[in-house]
């Protein structure tokens, strides 16, 4: 049973990353009509940003959690201003091709300097609270041993996902955003700066990817290709969930992570492929995705 719970936890963690990444993809797709193939590369940049902060300037995990998404988010906004914005009005597929090219460039540059092996990033050992050294160590829950860092990743990701949902579905800013998704011309006529909103939206989506990267750095090590295979799984998650609903992306992300974790326990050979197989099944039964509207 211990092993089952451990795999469930791993599943929840992967689910957190799926949720954070597919959430960002959905937000970006809503505003820019672009599937951001560079999402995996930007996730990797988030992890490297945390690594550089620690090893070049001595800035630790907690600040990296804030700084890395901002730095990568700004990088993303520069990409949007200099390249992506020129694709407005063209076929959606050009956005896919352009961001694929960006992903190749970013991953290739990092591979040149860091090879393909992983760089370690330690779990933070501060602040010390009641016998715990930062997020290191673990606690015995009776039925399983819970490494604190892993529990933290799941809880924190969930909080960030729900905060993003709240921002988009419940605030005035989010209402403007959703309105601009439906009819940008009309929203502009009301005096809202839609191009700036688009840029900020891309920055937000990219920032979420970078945040996921920082969270994963102590678990999965920092590798130039850490996002390359992940993004394909996230694409499958997006196909399963559909990009119509924010909450749908979050739930699908976590659910698929858990299913993957369970597969690792019951039939490990299929753990790499289970998400893709589920995608096939969903396409056969409900081609528009679980929460998607007809496209």
């Amino acid at each position: 049973m211990q092993a089952l719970y451990a795999q469930l936890l791993v599943g929840l963690i992967n689910g957190s990353f799926y949720a954070l990444l597919s959430l960002g993809l959905a937000v970006i797709f809503g505003m820019l009509n672009i599937i951001n193939f560079a999402h995996g590369a930007l996730y990797m940049m988030g992890a490297f940003c945390a690594y550089f902060l620690l090893h070049l300037t001595g800035i630790g995990y907690w600040w990296a959690l804030i700084i890395a998404p901002i730095v990568v988010g700004i990088f993303g906004m520069i990409l949007e201003r200099t390249m992506l914005q020129w694709l407005a009005g063209l076929d959606h597929l050009y956005g896919l091709l352009l961001t694929f090219g960006i992903a190749l460039i970013v991953q290739g540059v990092f591979q040149n300097y860091f090879g393909s092996s992983g760089l370690p990033y330690a779990i933070p050992d501060y602040p010390e609270v009641g016998g715990f050294r930062g997020l290191q160590g673990g606690m015995n829950l009776g039925f399983m041993f819970l490494p604190i860092y892993r529990g933290w990743v799941v809880v924190f990701s969930l909080v960030v996902c729900l905060a993003t949902w709240f921002l988009i579905e419940k605030t005035r800013l989010g209402a403007n955003l959703r309105a601009a998704t439906e009819n940008p011309t009309l929203v502009r006529a009301f005096g809202i700066n839609v191009p700036r909103m688009i840029t900020l939206t891309y920055g937000l989506g990219v920032g979420l990817a970078a945040l996921a990267g920082v969270l994963s750095a102590p678990i999965n090590q920092v590798r130039p290709l850490m996002g390359a295979d992940l993004i394909i799984v996230v694409f499958a998650v997006v196909v399963i969930g559909g990009m119509g609903s924010i909450m749908g992306s979050i739930i699908t992300g976590f659910a698929l992570g858990v299913i993957e974790g369970l597969t690792k326990y019951f039939y490990p050979e299929a753990s790499n492929t289970v998400v893709f197989v589920l995608m096939v099944l969903v396409l056969l039964v409900k081609p528009t995705g679980l929460t998607g509207r007809a496209a």
Partner: protein, 322 residues
């Protein structure tokens, strides 16, 4: 919303004649290659990828369906042919047949699944399916995992042509390429091809005219996958191995890049694009990962400033369909 190939010119007898002249010129030039002393292995490899890119282009350029998983047909046909040749010891023609049949079977299944969604979703689904297949091949015993199938015997095609002689192999590959190219050319200019283009331009209207568009898209997908598989089978004789790189998503990306550079939706663009990209990889092989970076830069540059591609620009300049 402008489509991927927004300024294709109508097919006229004039255009058909132009294209046949260019085709004849291309066939003659390629036929002369062994006399020039150019390294035949390079040209053979480029020809295999050119046919692959043409097959991919049939789907995206004329059907509007951008597959991001076309490497799965290349790799599957490669593994099937390699296994048949090496383990079963069949003759080359049977080996090719096994590979093509494998790719055809795969394209029926994956086509049935992926045409259920359009546009970006179609691309993501084909990418996910090819990744699924990658993991299956990684674990399946007959592919030998990371090592791949190596040292594949070339043998005698139809019992006469000795494929271990570079010149003979070159002409066999060239014949295969020209045959596949003509098949695609014929498809594009057939009534079937016209319906396909109408689906690309406006699927709703094609449906309202009574066309069962799903059937057309599925057939185009199967045709494209099968010809891509044929290219993969030919490549087995050239490279004498079948490995996981041929199924990886980076390979699918390269196929897209070749077609984009040459010109999406042009008849000869994929051929030119394949030669350009293969030549670039050959000359820049010493630069390691910078090749990936350069490919990325070409992607970005093509999408931002050069969407018609090489042949597309030439055709646009002369107001001819090429």
């Amino acid at each position: 919303m402008s489509t991927l190939t927004d300024d294709t010119l109508p097919v006229t007898p004039q255009a058909m004649r132009d294209e046949m002249i260019v085709f004849a010129g291309m066939a003659v030039l390629l036929g002369l290659v062994p006399l020039t002393g150019i390294y035949p292995f390079f040209v053979m490899q480029a020809l295999c990828f050119a046919l692959l890119a043409c097959a991919f282009n049939l789907l995206v350029g004329y059907g509007g369906l951008l597959s991001f998983g076309h490497a799965m047909f290349l790799g599957t046909a490669g593994y099937c042919s390699a296994h048949a040749l090496k383990v079963w010891g069949v003759t080359p023609e049977v080996g090719i047949l096994v590979g093509v049949a494998g790719a055809a079977a795969l394209s029926v299944v994956t086509g049935f699944i992926s045409i259920r969604r359009q546009g970006i979703y179609f691309s993501m689904i084909t990418l996910a399916l090819s990744q699924l297949l990658y993991f299956i091949y990684l674990q399946a015993p007959f592919t030998h995992g990371e090592d791949g199938i190596q040292g594949i015997p070339q043998g005698y095609l139809f019992g006469i042509f000795n494929l271990s002689k570079p010149t003979v192999l070159y002409y066999v590959v060239l014949a295969g390429f020209l045959g596949g190219f003509l098949l695609i050319f014929r498809t594009i200019n057939s009534p079937f091809g016209e319906v396909l283009k109408s689906i690309r331009e406006n699927e709703q209207r094609a449906i309202s005219l009574g066309y069962k568009t799903d059937n057309y898209k599925l057939l185009a997908f199967i045709l494209s996958g099968t010809i891509a598989g044929f290219a993969g089978s030919l490549k087995v004789f050239v490279a004498q191995n079948a490995s996981l790189t041929d199924v990886h998503w980076t390979m699918s990306g390269e196929i897209v890049l070749m077609t984009l550079v040459g010109g999406l939706g042009t008849v000869f663009g994929p051929v030119v694009g394949a030669f350009v990209i293969i030549a670039m990889q050959q000359y820049l092989a010493g630069f390691g990962q910078w090749v990936t970076v350069i490919q990325g830069v070409i992607f970005v540059a093509c999408v931002l400033t050069f969407r018609r591609g090489i042949i597309g620009e030439i055709a646009h300049y002369f107001r001819r369909s090429l």
